[in-house]
């Protein structure tokens, strides 16, 4: 792996990040409640949640832009926020990229990138190195408003990385870009962040983005951490009903005592993780398949190119979402049957 900061002598090891029992409240109900989260050095963690869940507040509290009511934040071994102790954001050595980049409009690209460097380094080659990292050295003398949205975001990343922060925060960094550009910039940033091995926390409301970029994903729901885990964990073994439906498409079947297996309108389903009381069985659309038969009707087909989602209304039960491959065999109104092809379902307690 390439050295983090290009040259061996100025290498700074990425810091871990530790958030303990953090509560944030403005007037009204608390925004974050007793939230704890540990992030390892060099890890890429996504904060995922619907709008208003407190994910941006968490990011801003880590940065020191918001003051928590209680709890602590530590970067590496250094406590930056705790009760009675508060390191102002300008002394935290935390880099941040804002939704729209927030480049200083009156400074050219190079001076934007050099802004966070110590006075002695502002005229050194450090700014150019940072611009090189994001592949934008050729626009060093341009003004921000002459750059495209994707270029602005990359400059903002270079500006945040130039002072060698211990932790990098990204606040919905791709949300202002249009779809094709978003995918490209995302891939470039992903590669760069992985190569540099910088500890990164980023906020997104887009489940796909969280899964693609995050080593781990922390799902926030109404000020609480609903679940923290690898994307696979979240998708395959969600902690509760809410997480199951928030990340990915879900078919849920009510089951009274799920242990071993459970009888559903589409047959007997093996249960992997059981529950003592009544529960919902989670069946992802790709666990189901369409077969010859006449137990339901195709209601709706959503065609995505790489695959398709078929909505089937069962005669004796709920409507199901079934993921099929792209060469469609069915049309709206066709009679079909649905069968289970997965290796076992997770039961989510009520």
């Amino acid at each position: 792996m390439m050295n983090i900061w290009g040259t061996p002598d100025d290498a700074v090891a990425p810091s871990g990040l530790s958030v303990r029992d953090l509560s944030v409240a403005y007037e009204g109900p608390p925004v974050l409640i007793d939230l704890s989260l540990d992030i390892a050095p060099g890890e890429l963690v996504a904060l995922l949640g619907p709008s208003g869940c407190g994910k941006t507040t968490l990011l801003r509290t880590i940065a020191g832009l918001e003051h928590p009511a209680s709890g602590s934040v530590a970067v590496g071994n250094r406590v930056v926020t705790s009760n009675g102790h508060f390191v102002p954001p300008e002394r935290r050595r935390i880099g941040m990229v804002f939704q729209d980049g927030a480049l200083f409009p009156h400074l050219d690209v190079r001076r934007n990138v050099a802004y966070g460097l110590p006075r002695s380094e502002r005229n050194s080659s450090r700014a150019n190195e940072a611009l090189d990292m994001v592949g934008l050295s050729e626009v060093a003398n341009r003004m921000p408003n002459t750059l495209s949205g994707g270029q602005q975001q990359r400059v903002a990343l270079a500006r945040a990385l130039a002072p060698r922060p211990g932790v990098l925060l990204l606040d919905e960094p791709f949300s202002n870009l249009d779809t094709t550009l978003r995918l490209r910039v995302r891939a470039e940033m992903h590669r760069l962040l992985v190569d540099l091995g910088v500890t990164t926390v980023f906020v997104t409301h887009d489940q796909e983005e969280a899964f693609v970029l995050g080593d781990r994903v922390a799902v926030l729901h109404e000020g609480h951490l609903a679940q923290v885990g690898t994307p696979d964990d979240l998708y395959r073994r969600p902690a509760d009903r809410w997480v199951a439906t928030f990340v990915g498409d879900a078919n849920l079947f009510r089951c009274n005592r799920p242990s071993g297996s459970c009888q559903t309108p589409i047959g007997e389903i093996p249960v992997l993780v059981g529950s003592d009381g009544p529960a919902d069985l989670l069946l992802r659309p790709e666990d189901l398949a369409l077969t010859e038969g006449s137990s339901g009707t195709v209601e709706l087909i959503e065609y995505y190119g790489h695959d398709a989602m078929v909505h089937v209304q069962l005669d004796n039960g709920p409507s199901l979402k079934v993921r099929t491959n792209a060469d469609l065999l069915h049309r709206r109104g066709d009679r079909v049957a649905v069968s289970y092809i997965g290796s076992g379902a997770v039961a989510l307690g009520l």
Partner: protein
């Protein structure tokens, strides 16, 4: 300003800990309160003198209320006529296919360059023997007896020179009103005139009201024009009685202050209730084809701009040129040499620049408080500053003169430069606070956050990020204050230190002494300077004033 609940020390620490971006830091609140107290001082002194000096009983006499009645009469007349004239001109120049629209759009706001008393003096001197109109008519054998005076004269002159206050906001509003609104109204079945009445006019009302409010305040505080027209409004009564009947002067000042504040309060209450769509679209507004009406419309525009812009300049230039020719021919020497002219010009530019810079610096904390923090304090301070703007310059002047005379530790301030600058800032500071607020808002909070996370402290953020981004807005605010200051007459006349002669003071004195040629030359210089500033501010950078 920390609210500390009566609880344990640790709970108090938590409460302080919570003091986030919402609540302003004490330095900011402190300076805002300090500024507000200073701004409230002149008005407070007038109220105090009126109450303790027994002025209020004077107000019960019918005689005392006559100037008030005349003031209201004039202010209402001028507000209504400027509202109609300003709106009509704005609509014609922005929303129709009037010939030479772009020229009219540049010329229409320019009558702002005339202080009302110079405009009035120009009309007066043009109509007297020796004036351009009188002599031109005389060529045809008529002896022109027409003189402008009284209510009619004051109304005509003030209407001509105050309509830009309505024209500017209404034109700006009309120019940005998205065409989709009107297109929708058409699709929903309205005819063009109905669209104007049901969609355009309601969306413009608040701009018309705001403009008319400015005109109302301009009229009630006008000193020079009504003096020249010999129409005794409150300002005249105050001025006449200031030396020998202070009780009456303060009683009238109190009335004038109350009138101005009442109108501002009323407008703000009404404005708060009106709903406006936010203008976002960059699509050009609909244009109405005038057809045959283009000719009368263009003629009306020419008439108004001719009367309000070119006629006064011609009359002044005629007198100035006449005096200069007389001197060249050795017939009569001008009582004005280049030295006097240069020093008056220098004094004007100097004092108004100093005032403008100080005004912006003083208003910046208030702008920060208003734009960055949500607090009741901000609203209160803002109201005090706006009240200062509503307070006529003459009232500020009277108050400061007598306060410095009577306040024992402050006598050294009598007739000093700081008092003059203070009077200007109380009177015009509000013009800077508005633009400064827009300027502060134009710096996104994220920009400040980004700079913080890059390690910049408060001072570095202010100097390297915020001030450069705010610069155009702040310059525009300073320019507005400068423009108003160099045109201001009564405060300068009364408060300026002995021997400090600005252009307005010189113009006033030469006119009172009937040295019309000298007056013409001085007035042309002042008008030229303020024309340059107006051009720069109003025509080129109007976007920073909204």
């Amino acid at each position: 300003m920390t609210t500390t609940p009566k609880t344990t020390p640790s709970a108090r620490r938590v409460a302080r800990y919570q003091t986030g971006t919402g609540r302003p830091p004490w330095q900011l609140s402190g300076s805002a309160v300090f500024i507000a107290v200073l701004f409230a001082l002149p008005g407070g002194y007038v109220v105090w003198r009126a109450i303790t000096g027994g002025s209020l009983s004077l107000l019960l006499e019918g005689r005392a209320l006559r100037p008030l009645w005349r003031t209201i009469q004039l202010a209402v007349l001028v507000s209504v006529s400027t509202a109609i004239l300003g709106t009509a001109l704005a609509w014609l120049t922005v929303r129709t296919d009037l010939p030479l629209r772009r020229l009219w759009r540049v010329l229409a706001p320019l009558p702002l360059v005339y202080p009302s008393f110079i405009g009035a003096a120009a009309f007066h001197s043009g109509l007297t023997p020796g004036g351009i109109v009188h002599d031109l008519v005389g060529q045809f054998g008529f002896n022109l007896e027409l003189r402008l005076h009284g209510l009619t004269g004051a109304w005509l002159v003030l209407t001509l020179f105050a309509y830009p206050y309505v024209y500017l906001p209404v034109a700006a509003r009309l120019a940005t009103l998205p065409s989709s609104l009107e297109e929708n109204a058409r699709l929903l079945g309205d005819r063009p005139f109905q669209v104007f009445r049901r969609v355009v006019l309601p969306q413009t009302t608040s701009s018309i009201a705001a403009g008319s409010l400015l005109v109302f305040l301009y009229t009630v505080s006008d000193f020079g024009a009504v003096h020249l027209m010999r129409f005794e409004t409150l300002t005249q009564t105050i001025y006449r009685n200031r030396l020998f009947d202070q009780t009456r002067a303060f009683g009238m000042a109190f009335l004038l202050l109350a009138l101005a504040l009442l109108v501002v309060a009323a407008e703000r209450t009404v404005a708060r209730r009106s709903a406006q769509i936010e203008v976002t679209g960059d699509r050009s507004p609909l244009n109405v084809a005038l057809g045959l009406w283009r000719i009368p419309a263009a003629a009306s525009c020419s008439l108004i701009v001719g009367l309000a812009l070119f006629a006064p300049a011609l009359s002044l230039a005629d007198w100035g040129l006449f005096g200069w020719l007389q001197q060249r021919r050795g017939l009569a020497a001008l009582r004005l040499d280049w030295g006097d002219l240069a020093s008056a010009t220098w004094s004007t530019v100097w004092i108004s620049s100093v005032t403008a810079v100080i005004a912006v610096a003083v208003m910046l904390p208030i702008a920060y408080l208003l734009a960055r923090h949500r607090s009741r304090l901000g609203g209160v301070v803002n109201s005090v500053v706006i009240a200062g703007f509503a307070m006529p310059g003459l009232v500020v002047a009277i108050s400061l003169i007598f306060w410095t005379l009577h306040a024992s530790p402050f006598e050294f301030l009598i007739g000093s430069m700081p008092v003059l600058v203070f009077a200007y800032i109380v009177h015009f500071g509000a013009q800077a606070v508005r633009t400064a607020q827009v300027a502060v808002t134009s710096v996104p909070k994220r920009m400040d956050d980004a700079a913080r996370l890059l390690g910049a402290n408060r001072l570095r953020r202010l100097i390297t990020v915020e001030l450069p981004i705010m610069a155009p807005g702040l310059t525009a605010g300073a320019g507005l204050v400068m423009l108003s200051t160099m045109k201001e007459l009564p405060a300068t006349l009364l408060v300026a230190p002995m021997g400090f002669r600005t252009l307005t003071v010189e113009i006033w004195d030469t006119y009172e002494a009937l040295y019309l040629a000298e007056m013409g030359i001085l007035a042309l210089v002042l008008v030229a300077i303020s024309a340059v500033l107006t051009w720069y501010l109003v025509v080129r950078r109007a976007n920073h004033l909204a």
